[in-house]
């Protein structure tokens, strides 16, 4: 409480100051996410874990103050009495100033002291970011300098330690990143070329338990991107020096292993048509701010960004069987794998208005295909040795084909149809060893209609069905959403895992029902919902974590100022 009063005094002090100068500017946001969990025996629910700990809340207050070229900010966070479900235990009960910075920025220089976020290239070498839905905040505390050395050259250097809950990681991170506009510099007009190079190193002292571990792990990478007319693409390749192998805090091997990653992208875009393909290969590509953090399920102290390259699905049932990238190396009796390789392609196409298929308003089609497999490798488990092929024919981990058709029928009626056929490895989707437990094949169909009423009122209805023979078999779901105006809306859904008609086996059929409402106006958004949440792999931006099933009341308040 004292802290809050102090910060409030500080605030009012700051604002008077701001008003005096009449040029400062104050901004930030306040976010509160809370849960009141109910004990529900109809769910796969760990009663003991929740009795007496049913209320959970995350609160964030970010305050920034800008005066000319300087900006300062502080973020206060509290997770009292506990963090909401699925957050790393490091956050539970935490309360305090988590984060602060001072930044100077002019035309060519951008200097930050304190906590900062940054990303090199596609993030395969380094990314620090915040995702409150996922419980990731791996900002680095230290110094970051970004310098636009010339019109064609941009340089970044950073040094610091990564945040881990309310503490800081033991590893010290150094990074350098350079971006160079080749075409401009060399006066090439026929093609637009950009070159980038990055270096990231982690220093962590050796400890008595693992005297073999290298103190420095260095990673370097380079990338080249081009645009030529309607065609564009890029290639990125990275390598990481040798490091010992940990899994969830346990030393798996005293031997050291290096890692590589590679990503190639190629696309074509013209009016009415866009195509994009990506290929990626990862071998032993886990990179954490602390060597012992490797493989932790909460993504704590993760230093780079290795998202699943598959379509991010939007519906209740297309979100059940999703992919989670598998970059890590595992060599033990239970599990042997060394990375992943695969590809995905997206196509977007507009059928013109006035054609037979397009009708009066046209029609929009989006299709996506992705295929990911483990690396084909030979393992010598006893000696903790492996050898991987570049592509080979490793176990299939994920395959997805989906098509989405959007059509407007009249001024009032819009529809979306989605079909998805997906195969996912059981280990990826449900946990446990990957690539050895068999897979789940599912087909999903979704039909959505939006009907506009008077003024801004509208009704959205979604019907969905998932067919599967394994795991929890068949599902169906119905969503109805009513928008009273642009500010207030309500929804209700039932997501029913009915398995099969007339099912009377040992497992239960489960209804995941939910009802919610939201109100938003200007800078304020308030939302609440009540009901059951399906557990499992929850992914945001391609990064996933397992969340237990729950039932209860959730509330969110967000105010930006």
């Amino acid at each position: 409480m004292k802290k809050i009063i102090l910060s409030l005094c500080l605030l009012s002090g700051m604002t008077t100051f701001a008003q005096d100068l009449d040029s400062g500017n104050f901004f930030g946001n306040l976010e509160s996410n809370s849960q009141w969990l109910q004990l529900d025996d109809g769910l796969d629910f760990d009663r003991q874990a929740f009795e007496g700990a049913q209320f959970k809340a995350n609160n964030y207050l970010l305050l920034n103050y800008n005066l000319g070229k300087f900006t300062a900010g502080v973020q206060f966070e509290s997770y009292l009495p506990d963090a909401i479900l699925g957050y790393a235990p490091e956050y539970d009960g935490g309360n305090g100033i988590a984060h602060y910075y001072l930044n100077y920025k002019d035309e060519t220089l951008d200097i930050t002291g304190g906590n900062f976020y940054d990303q090199f290239g596609s993030g395969l070498l380094l990314r620090s970011w915040e995702d409150r839905q996922l419980g990731i905040n791996n900002s680095i505390r230290g110094v970051r300098v970004n310098w636009s050395a010339s019109d064609n050259l941009n340089l970044t250097g950073l040094y610091g330690q990564q945040r881990n809950g309310f503490e800081y990681s033991e590893g010290v991170i150094q990074g350098l990143d350079a971006n160079f506009e080749l075409s401009n510099a060399l006066n090439i007009e026929s093609v637009d070329l950009r070159f980038g190079a990055s270096y990231v190193s982690r220093f962590q002292p050796q400890s008595l338990e693992n005297p073999e571990a290298p103190e420095n792990v260095n990673a370097v990478g380079a990338r080249l991107d081009f645009v030529k007319g309607n065609v564009y693409g890029g290639i990125e390749a990275n390598t990481k020096s040798k490091d010992v192998l940990f899994n969830e805090g346990i030393l798996v091997s005293n031997k050291t292993y290096d890692g590589t990653s590679m990503q190639i992208n190629l696309g074509y875009a013209q009016k009415g048509l866009g195509i994009n393909s990506t290929f990626r290969r990862l071998e032993n590509w886990s990179f954490y701010a602390d060597r012992e953090a490797q493989g932790n399920v909460y993504n704590q102290q993760i230093l780079n960004y290795v998202p699943a390259l598959s379509k991010q699905q939007d519906y209740l049932l297309t979100n059940i069987y999703v992919y989670n990238a598998q970059p890590g190396l595992f060599i033990d009796d239970v599990e042997q794998r060394s990375g992943e390789v695969g590809t995905q392609t997206d196509i977007y196409y507009s059928v013109k208005k006035g054609t037979k298929l397009g009708g009066k308003y046209g029609m929009k089609i989006a299709a996506n295909f992705s295929y990911w497999s483990g690396l084909e490798s030979e393992y010598n488990v006893q000696n903790r040795f492996y050898e991987a092929k570049f592509i080979g024919s490793g176990p299939r981990l994920f395959r997805d084909f989906n098509v989405e058709v959007k059509k407007k029928w009249s001024k009032r009626v819009n529809s979306v149809f989605t079909l998805q056929d997906v195969v996912v490895d059981k280990g990826v989707s449900l946990g446990g060893p990957v690539g050895t437990q068999g897979d789940i094949h599912a087909t999903v169909a979704v039909a959505e209609a939006t009907i506009k009423m008077q003024k801004s009122q509208s009704l959205r209805v979604v019907g969905q069905h998932l067919w599967a023979k394994k795991d929890r078999q068949n599902w169906m779901a119905l969503v109805a959403e009513y928008n009273f105006n642009s500010r207030f809306s309500m929804y209700v859904y039932d997501n029913w895992n009915y398995r099969e008609f007339g099912y009377d086996g040992e497992e239960k059929d489960i209804h995941y029902y939910n009802i919610g409402a939201s109100y938003t106006k200007g800078r304020v958004r308030v939302a609440g919902n009540y009901g059951r949440q399906r557990g499992g792999l929850i992914c945001v931006g391609g990064v996933c974590r397992f969340v237990p099933e729950s039932n209860g009341l959730s509330a969110t308040i967000n105010v930006a100022f």
Binding site: G123, G267, A269, G274, I347, S458, N485, G541, G542
Partner: protein, 160 residues
């Protein structure tokens, strides 16, 4: 209860000096050139800044809906739309084929590590801002079908 009252007190205090200035944040154009939101959005006419993402269904609906009337809007009010994608590197490669496939005529900017999103305190997308003379004059988060009409009424007011 005390806490709640306290929060409201904070809220009320803050509303008095709500953010009007555009934050000093760097973005990239679709071709990878560095720019800032201040540079791109400070114009005499009204500028719509829409934070969106390829994976955000209501965002796409909003931009699709505006796309159908965008020519009219431009003819009547000279308004411009800056669509700032908050896609991170997982999905940012979809931005170019998507806007082409959809035939959108907007200027596109990239906020790949969400610096602008953070600076605007936006927890969700879509977030729609109206900018006039470099100041944020209107702000709305979320999209419901038909709310583009309300947005346009605001634009007309501001364009007078």
């Amino acid at each position: 209860m005390k806490k709640i009252a306290f929060l409201f007190a904070i809220l009320l205090t803050f509303n008095a000096f709500a953010q009007e200035e555009l934050p000093n944040v760097s973005l990239k154009t679709l071709d990878g050139v560095d720019t800032t939101i201040i540079k791109e959005a400070s114009k005499d006419n009204v500028v719509i800044v829409s934070l969106w993402a390829t994976w955000c269904v209501p965002c796409i609906k909003e931009l699709d809906a505006i796309s159908e009337v965008y020519e009219e809007w431009q003819d009547e009010t000279n308004v411009e739309l800056l669509a700032v994608s908050v896609d991170d590197s997982r999905t940012v490669k979809r931005v170019k084929p998507l806007i082409n496939g959809k035939g959108w005529e907007y200027d596109i900017l990239l906020d790949t590590n969400n610096d602008l999103k953070r600076a605007l305190g936006a927890s969700t997308v879509p977030l729609t801002l109206l900018i006039k003379n470099g100041k944020i004059v209107y702000r709305h988060s979320g999209y419901t079908p038909g709310s583009e009409n309300e947005l346009y009424e605001k634009i007309q007011e501001l364009s007078l």
